[in-house]
């Protein structure tokens, strides 16, 4: 056995706090190590070439690279050793960057620890066995979760690329947050005018199967072969019969239902079509407000419906779809203004959120596009916009910037001047964040051409005084306190992840951060991939982002799926569990503990029952190996012997 060890400086990342030369020297003394060296950047092209050359020159047959985390470059180096003719599993990576050099300042201690870690890797690589992947067929259909602008873009791009798409949207219509917006910055394009046609494209595309008002119930399988259970929530209206005529909505006597589409700006009917451009344009009953459900009598809609589509007995329905990849585009939610008691959110009707103001501006909103105060339906003349309402505020657990509020508040201030020429708008801000193309010019236009007064400082309190709302804050540029008597206050409330984001992440086996936003595979280089192969991200579910960024990610995720599906077969990961049928006693405890249902019982020719691993389903978690009472099931590349060799290398030294 001839092991070659390559220790990376990683510029100063490792060499700054680890004596890499000393590590190489210590490792060279281990029996079996034929070659040990250091290199500035092992991952670079010359670095990889050096590995290949050393394999030839020194007849190496096992390779260890001591560098960064295997998450970063394990795949890179596996390819390198494969190109030099070795099996890709004759390779081990020792993490001396994230686990050592980045976390400790003590050079001596770091060097000692690095030597230990590399020793362990050497011990392991000596025990490694060659493994070979097998190929399996993939299902070239894609599931898109979320029908906002990011999800729609992803669905359309996939469908145009020839893939069959299953699009699942939890609300009754696709369109997402963008369908609620009045205009978009910085061009003041009408939002629904540019989104509407896209929504129609989605509805009419023969490759896209749309499940509106549906949610993901369960996800089984692996990249290439997923089984998805979709819950079609009961609408109490048979959508195959509903024509979207709206007669039911007109006649419904229950007028106080919460309007989710309009964020509660005004009430809606218990049976409703969310907005005129809704897709699908179908009615749905809200059982919390419908008199048939709350009082047990009514039935007006059933009588009025010309196609007899109303069905009060409807139940949720579960359907199964099979796909090969998943794009997650579940979007975001907004901070409830009630979480900001100092601003009186929820207590004072004339303190509203930005998205509610958007609905007041919109021609198809509850006020038909006239800006009217919720309290007395008069036209406000002084409007105060408060940015960072919740964002960048550690005290309420939202330390991050919500990304697009600076821009939409500037837009709303401009639109306010257009709607009410004799109005005066104020914007309280911490910093104006407008780094996009044409964005800074836009905020300047608000100030210079539209006379919007920008006050740099935070608002401490909002309170009523007669019919006015007093906004009390500080002007940090003048160093003085400010009080503005406003008719209407608009809060740029913080962007949050969806309340059920964590729940879905667990079904998908993808990671999420402290705030519930999904974590991409690499923040710079793999922005739409997740660490679970076959699952991709698009839009604000990954972090607050505006429309162009969401659309860009939607397309990017689609291109990743198209690339994945360009092959007919995928290679399976051979680092999965394997049963030694000679040792297996057929207790089948592993079948019960496997979280992926990857183990089944199998009858041998002699009638004996043993456990059998379905290679493509096994995720290589190792739960079965610790369950097995007789050590018959072993995780390949992480066998007991291989792991014990590492422990011995550490403890016997």
């Amino acid at each position: 056995m001839r092991v070659g060890v390559f220790i990376c400086h990683c510029g100063n990342n490792i060499a700054g706090t680890v004596d890499v030369k000393a590590v190489a020297e210590a490792i060279r003394k281990i029996p079996g190590v034929a070659y040990a060296t250091t290199y500035m950047y092992t991952c670079s092209e010359p670095g990889q070439d050096e590995i290949k050359q050393a394999i030839k020159e020194h007849k190496l047959n096992r390779i260890v690279v001591a560098a960064c985390s295997p998450r970063m470059h394990e795949l890179t180096f596996r390819k390198t050793v494969e190109k030099a003719g070795l099996n890709r599993y004759y390779f081990e990576m020792a993490n001396i960057r994230e686990h050592i050099s980045w976390i400790g300042e003590d050079r001596k201690a770091n060097t000692k620890k690095a030597i230990d870690v590399v020793k362990m890797a050497v011990a392991k690589v000596m025990q490694d066995r060659p493994l070979y992947s097998s190929a399996f067929k993939i299902n070239k259909r894609v599931l898109v979760i979320g029908g906002g602008v990011a999800g729609m873009q992803a669905a359309l791009d996939c469908a145009d690329g020839g893939l069959e798409v299953v699009l699942v949207e939890k609300s009754p219509s696709i369109g997402g947050m963008m369908s609620r917006l009045d205009k978009t910055f910085p061009t003041i394009d009408c939002s629904i005018c540019i989104l509407g046609p896209k929504m129609v494209d989605v509805a009419q595309h023969d490759k896209i199967k749309l499940y509106a008002y549906s949610e993901i119930d369960d996800i089984k399988g692996y990249v290439g072969n997923y089984q998805i259970k979709i819950r079609k929530k009961a609408t109490y209206v048979d959508w195959t019969k509903c024509t979207g005529c709206g007669a039911c909505m007109e006649k419904c006597p229950s007028r106080n239902a919460y309007d989710y589409f309009n964020f509660g700006v005004a009430p809606t009917k218990a049976i409703n079509i969310p907005f005129p451009q809704a897709i699908p344009k179908k009615a749905k009953i809200d059982p919390n407000y419908c008199r048939h459900f709350t009082k047990g009598k009514c039935g007006v809609c059933a009588k009025i419906c010309p196609t007899k589509a109303i069905n009060y007995e409807m139940q949720d329905e579960i359907v199964t779809e099979e796909v090969g990849a998943i794009i997650v585009a579940t979007g975001y939610s907004l901070l409830d203004p009630e979480k900001l008691p100092e601003y009186g959110g929820g207590r004072y009707p004339d303190v509203i959120s930005g998205i509610q103001y958007e609905r007041l501006l919109n021609a198809s909103g509850p006020t038909a596009g006239h800006i009217l105060r919720p309290s007395d339906h008069t036209e406000p003349k002084t409007i105060v916009f408060v940015s960072c309402a919740g964002s960048r505020d550690k005290s309420i657990g939202i330390p991050y910037c919500s990304n697009f509020c600076c821009m939409y508040l500037a837009k709303q201030a401009i639109l306010t001047k257009d709607h009410i020429p004799d109005s005066q708008s104020y914007v309280f801000y911490m910093d104006i964040r407008s780094p996009g193309k044409g964005y800074d010019e836009f905020t300047r236009r608000a100030q210079e051409d539209y006379g919007v007064k920008y006050i740099r400082g935070r608002v401490s309190r909002i309170y009523p005084k007669g019919k006015k709302m007093v906004v009390k804050g500080v002007d940090t540029l003048l160093g003085s306190q400010v009080e503005i008597e406003a008719d209407l206050v608009v809060l740029g409330t913080a962007v949050l992840s969806n309340p059920d984001a964590a729940h879905l992440a667990e079904k998908l086996h993808i990671s999420y951060d402290t705030f519930g936003f999904y974590v991409e595979s690499h923040p710079k280089l793999r922005p739409v991939e997740t660490n679970t192969s076959g699952v991709f991200l698009a839009g604000a579910c990954q972090g607050p982002k505006d429309i162009p960024a969401s659309v860009g990610q939607g397309s990017a995720a689609a291109s990743k799926v198209l690339a994945l599906f360009s092959k007919d077969m995928l290679e399976s990961d051979p680092a999965v569990a394997k049963v030694d049928i000679n040792k297996c006693i057929g207790c089948l405890k592993c079948v019960k503990t496997c979280p992926f249902q990857a183990i089944k019982d199998k009858e041998l020719r002699d009638g004996r029952i043993v456990a059998d691993v379905i290679e493509t389903v096994c995720a290589g978690c190792g739960v079965c190996t610790s369950t097995c009472p007789c050590g018959a099931i072993q995780l390949q590349h992480f066998t007991d012997n291989q792991l014990l060799a590492e422990v011995n290398a550490l403890c016997l030294a």
Binding site: P341, R347, Y463, K465
Partner: protein, 322 residues
């Protein structure tokens, strides 16, 4: 609630400028069966001056008292004054969090403090431990025309990390207690605005300005009385009304009572017992208009009969002149 014994730390203000706060707290604690005992040889909590100079010293002054209470075998101290309360809570918080800080504080003390005493405001004891139902049960009197603005002041519930009670921006505990004894509570936006606090001496004008805002907001909210839970708030709002009137030309004349005094009035105690004579702006009108619950019920019935009569009269009139 039953059998729990509290230490009661009145603090320096309640021996002087806020004597009536002390009187009224003790009366209603007795009325509600709250078992309390005053620790012997207690000293000043450190108040504002101590923590502006040195945190260890300030915490030592507070912890000295907590240590006495700990020795008495009690785990909760009821504190009427928010400044004392925060002094205790701050000492507790930093000593629990930081072992070296705790050692430094304990070095200054004769008896080491082991951080086993929890400080609660009188408001919190009444709201959480006694409960609104008990508070309502004991009511004997009604003040029909009292409209109160509950003013919590800036530190009763803040900072939230220390206070751990009620909402820091829109507290409701005092509102609920006052409603529970049958007083009309106004929707008041300045519940936690600052009255100017201890700046009364170095920056009198500023304190007058801030106190004036609180008072005028209470009047705008329709209140004819302000309820407080802090000696300094009471002093600024009550004592300074004349000063404010002189300098700004306003015409404020609104009584500022401790919320415990209002509860005491509803429990039938005499103005003397409750120390109402200590107020600068007189609250005599409420004493005069105070009636027993029975009288109030009778009054209400009569009013309703009157209403019925009116309705009948109207009906007759309508019939006569259609």
């Amino acid at each position: 609630m039953a059998n729990k014994r509290y230490a009661y730390y009145s603090g320096c203000s309640l021996e002087g400028t806020a004597l009536e706060y002390d009187k009224s707290v003790r009366l209603i604690f007795d009325a509600l069966g709250v078992d309390y005992i005053e620790p012997e040889d207690w000293s000043c909590c450190g108040s504002t001056p101590a923590h502006t100079i040195d945190h260890v010293f300030a915490s030592a002054l507070a912890a000295r008292n907590l240590s006495i209470i700990e020795k008495m075998g009690l785990d909760t101290v009821a504190v009427p004054c928010p400044a004392c309360l925060m002094a205790f809570k701050k000492a507790q918080y930093f000593m629990e969090k930081d072992e070296t800080f705790k050692e430094k504080v304990n070095e200054l003390l004769d008896e080491k403090y082991n951080c086993r005493v929890y400080a609660k405001s009188t408001l919190q004891v009444l709201y959480e431990d006694v409960g609104l139902d008990e508070i309502t049960k004991r009511v004997t009197h009604v003040i029909p025309d009292m409209k109160v603005a509950p003013y919590y002041g800036c530190i009763t519930n803040r900072p939230p990390k220390l206070a751990q009670f009620d909402d820091p921006e829109n507290p409701i505990s005092m509102d609920k207690i006052l409603s529970a004894i049958g007083v009309e509570v106004c929707d008041f936006a300045f519940k936690v605005e600052c009255c100017g606090a201890a700046f009364g001496v170095p920056k009198k004008d500023m304190v007058n300005r801030l106190s004036a805002k609180v008072i005028s907001m209470a009047i705008d909210a329709g209140a004819n009385c302000i309820a407080v839970a802090c000696p300094l708030c009471q002093q600024n709002l009550d004592l300074r009304q004349e000063q404010i009137n002189k300098t700004t030309g306003s015409n404020f004349n609104i009584p500022v009572l401790y919320f415990t005094q209002i509860v005491g009035l509803a429990y039938g105690y005499s103005p003397k017992e409750l120390g109402l004579d200590k107020l600068i702006v007189s609250a005599d009108n409420f004493v005069r208009s105070r009636i027993t619950k029975e009288q109030y019920e009778q009054l209400k019935q009569e009013q309703e009969k009157g209403k019925e009569k009116d309705v009948k009269k109207q009906e007759i009139q309508e019939k006569e002149n259609p």
